[in-house]
Symmetry: C2
Subunit: 261 residues, 2 copies
Amino acid sequence: MRILLTNDDGINARGLHSLINELNTIAEIYVVAPRSEQSGTGHSITVFDPIKAIETKIPGIKKGWLVGGTPVDCVKLGTKRLVPEPIDLVVSGINHGSNLGTDVLYSGTVSAATEGVIMGYPAIAVSLDTFDASADFSFAAGFTRRLVAAILQESMPRTTLFNVNLPLLPPEQIKGIRMTKLGTRNYDNLFEERRDPRGNIYYWLGGGVLNEEQDEDSDVYAVEHGYISITPIHLDLTHYGLIKKFSKLSDEYLNNLLRGE
Amino acid sequence: MRILLTNDDGINARGLHSLINELNTIAEIYVVAPRSEQSGTGHSITVFDPIKAIETKIPGIKKGWLVGGTPVDCVKLGTKRLVPEPIDLVVSGINHGSNLGTDVLYSGTVSAATEGVIMGYPAIAVSLDTFDASADFSFAAGFTRRLVAAILQESMPRTTLFNVNLPLLPPEQIKGIRMTKLGTRNYDNLFEERRDPRGNIYYWLGGGVLNEEQDEDSDVYAVEHGYISITPIHLDLTHYGLIKKFSKLSDEYLNNLLRGE
């Protein structure tokens, strides 16, 4: 079995290296990871610039590259050009900080896994709910190994993307695993306004998560209450219900829309 | 009525200016657009750097800013800080080039509209199927005005994101409007390998769209066959079918996954 491992915190992040040491006991690991931190890059790709990929030695893996691009670039370039053999799974993480609710759209970690699915592979994104750089990733990494083994043995579906978030708790305090839906994440005081030395206004993205009522079956609720959250994610963004509704629009209405009255 | 207008081709793009002249006949226009071309930026946001927003004079609009960030930054900053009054709608475009199928994930144009919906506004993304810089945007802009009027008058739903793609055809040759689902877009020869003057390998993203069989109800099929495609898009990425399937997993299975055997 072969795994393409990537992340959005960059190739030196502890979360990524904690995964190597667990996953290399069950599969060959190819690391294709960004040279620098890429948080918030979402599903962006490098369209207008060349992408450098430099082979790098990492103990415990089959081969590794540091890529001057986004997490999605890493997965595209990794699966299409760099990794010389067919892979079985894309793993993205372990991210430093959770990726929950609507925030998954901004997440480089989740977007890398999404790109894995687009390229035709099962994929999981794993995040630990802490920004503490010295946090202990070992339980999260061990859990990821067990989940990956279950996916590769097909006791879990191989055709989808799993977004996994772990609470930062000692293992014995973790209450269980919940299969969840995406919750909501809204922020207040989103932008701070400042002035540069020349008096021009600029903004910093900041803000805190609003403490909103969450559905009990959501990922946000699960992690806040001490559970590991696993959200199955699909890529079909079409709103079929509305297509049905539109089919009732008259030809006259549509013709007016098309040509104007 | 007030419209926040943005795009991913940058504030000087002809597609954006063609829209101003149509939309300002039915609403006040606030332009919040990127300083430079942002194609392929997807749903990325500027997390670690300050964002400059410089007010700029554009004839025919209420107020405008050029923003040193991504299309999603423009919508977030525009709705939360820059535009002094509540808006009714976010319009993104008109993009130079179509945004169809799975490619919507990479699209700054569509992601800006997505961000509009996240911020609580109805939103539409509009793209014209051509990279010809001298293309005629006037019919596409007029059509967008009629569609926007329909949304603002609520003869179309106000709660969703519409992804609109127009074929590059003389108006009289456009066959009609189709409500579509997202199709598929796959590419071959995705990366070109080159060597820099020092002998290091680098890659360019390139490749051509694979000519794949498309479902007749897809956006790709519609635009290829001379129709305007309107795809309603939702943001609920949860795969509910799989959650149901998971509910059959035994406690013993989940406990083994959690703690290891």
